[in-house]
Amino acid sequence: MQYSEEERAYLWLCACTELDDRTRVSVLRGAGDPAALFEGYPVPGAGKDRRGEAERFLSSLEKKGYFALTLLSEDYPENLKAISDPPLVLYGMGRRELLKERKFCIVGSRRTPAAALAFGKELAKTLSRQFVIVTGLAEGGDSAAIAGAAESGNLISVLPCGLDECYPAAHASLKARIAERGMLLSEYVPGAKVAKYAFFARNRLLAGLADGVFVLSAGKKSGTLITADRAAEYGRDVFALPYNVGVAQGEGCNDLIKKGAYLVTCAEDILSVYGFEEEKGEAASFTEEEERVLAVLKEKGEAHLAEVAEALGMRVFEVSALLSALELKGAAAKAGGNRYAAV
């Protein structure tokens, strides 16, 4: 990875000194040209061998396969530059070219109903043909978005910690897969541990990077709503999945819709806002029996296996085979307790 003299100096200031960002900004302003930092411009608490420190830091990044980009870098996302407090430096791993693409953010709480997860996955898959999907690394909504977009690799996962950390730890293999197919991004120096405040800060990046934010699920006080708030603040479009009254995991979504977020029931609802047409994937074909099962599911919303069987006059195990088939075709989702929902 090639870094210009200015970038090196900039990175040195951000990674090798223990200042806060505000001081760093005022130092940079004072110095005018960042390269002046290497020429002995006074920086509080800085060592002598500034160039050497920068070199060592960069080679340590290189070794781990990470790259860094600063506000000066040519491919620093324009969207992010426009927010009030853009990170001075971003660390990334994976396909750097994704930064230039149009981005769309999908987030959801960790407790997302099964049917919504399946919907989120399909949506991410569809949208990833037009957008790079931006999300986190948590269970639930984030994982659904990752699962949908991983195939195309148009995926950026933003971490609230250094790139070499993994939270939740159980997603280590998922994280490795994203680094391979898509891209990992963080504003924290490698090695930085997860901290509570970091999630708030990370959520501003999710909103800042993307053209729009889709909220798959959010309880009344879900952290997901912070992302939506930031998005509104930054002038991004906010989209939300509607929920039934009384479903705790969806109260936040419904509130968003009340406040004016777009109501989303299909990918078309999002794509049309940006002037795209939905590229229909190969439509799955269903057998006659599968169609009948689907019709019952759609009519009932979420239904128990036995209810479907009763409605169709079929044996329960016949229906469970059909539902299994529909599940594999992505047309139905298991909702727990032997209940299924159409997607």
Partner: protein
Amino acid sequence: MIAKIVCYTLNGLAGVPVEVETDVNKGIPAYDMVGLPDTAVKESKERVRSALKNSGFQFPVGKITVNLAPADLKKEGASYDLAVAVSLLKASEQLVGAATEDYVFLGELALSGDLRPISGLLPILISAKGHGFSRFIIPAANAPEARFLSGAEIYPAETLTEVVRHLSGILRLVPLETAQYAPHPSSGGGADLKFVKGQPVARRALEIAVAGGHNLLMVGPPGTGKTMLARCLPTIMPDLTFAEALEITKIHSVAGILGEEGVVTERPFRTPHHTATTVSMCGGGNTRVHPGEISLAHGGVLFLDELPEYKRSTLEALRQPLEDGVITVARAGGAFTYPARFMLCASMNPCPCGNYGSANKTCTCTPAEIRAYRKKISGPLLDRIDLQVEVDNVAYDDLTSPEMCESSASVKARVEAVRAIERNRFEGSAIHTNAEMGEREIALYCKLDREGDSILRAAFERLDLSARARARIIKVARTVADLDASEYILPRHVFEAVSYRTYDKMG
């Protein structure tokens, strides 16, 4: 004079002959017992002394040496009492002219001279018969289990006096009549599927599990009837054949838990509590190696309620017997092999609070808690459980279809039909059920057409299944096809088999 009497001890399920040699010499009165007797055997001295006296015989005065041969085998328990008493009588010439050579003497003595029952009698009789012995004297209380052995003269006796009269020809004992084994369906302690309300998915899984010999995991909130469903398993399993019954009886006899009937006629249903130790589960013990719960469940069901609560090491110990159908317990005193071909049925809650996936209650667990809970069950163990079903808490009041309250008897009829197909299929091999198929048999009997193959491929991608899960799914699909009386595995069978991988999907 020296008297030699034959008696038997057990090594695992195999009987080992033990010769009791007794010599009475002139000298300072003493009573020595040699040949690695344990405390219970040594204490037989006092029992035998009183029993002889109270039966009207004389305890010989002199230097008495009792040797239990072979001398290097540890002798345990009280089953040598009768043999020691008879040999003492013979050595002290109170039993002159009686033929004792071709008899095997088994039994514990009471102080009054009464004979007490011993454990493990049936396996001893079977092995001794194999070794060429044909005449046995046993405690009358053991008669029920002995009467199923044909081709041997078995004399049940109440007291030592009766034994002596029999040997000296004064009053012959009446030999035991061989009883015919009559299988009868398991009563299951009153459990029957017709009392289970609804749960069509679990019902079907039970049927497939029993038909193909698959292991089963039921996942569901507390109070949804998982235990009740499990209790119905023996009621839909095929009746025991005589060979099976004898095998199970042997194990139960060794463990000393044989009922009054004398032979096990119902399939065992064992429910060890989750505090069970690895030793109690697999067998072992300090002085005597006992069969564990998995051996006691041989031929029947081992039900583990609240699976994640069991100790991890205990569960992991089940893996090898689940594959091999036997367990070999190695101790300093030797290795003991017990059969352990059981059907594993386990139940668990979907999450620590139990409401995950519930229709009307909210789960309060965090994903990390759920993950920690499920992690308690290792992948390799789960891989050995072919069927995973959800048991839900739906009220089935409105549903009227007949399959909601089918009785055990009619399910059993279908199971027996599939078992007949399997017997045909695996004739001449060591395999009994579809679940036991290896790679070779799968290739032979479970051909998938192109469509079925592509379904499996899709399932793999979607469910992120392990390679072992593939073989499991195919085997379940084979059983589903058998239930459908279909020679070929059709796509719908594969789909149904895939639907029983609930747990993989939940993960």
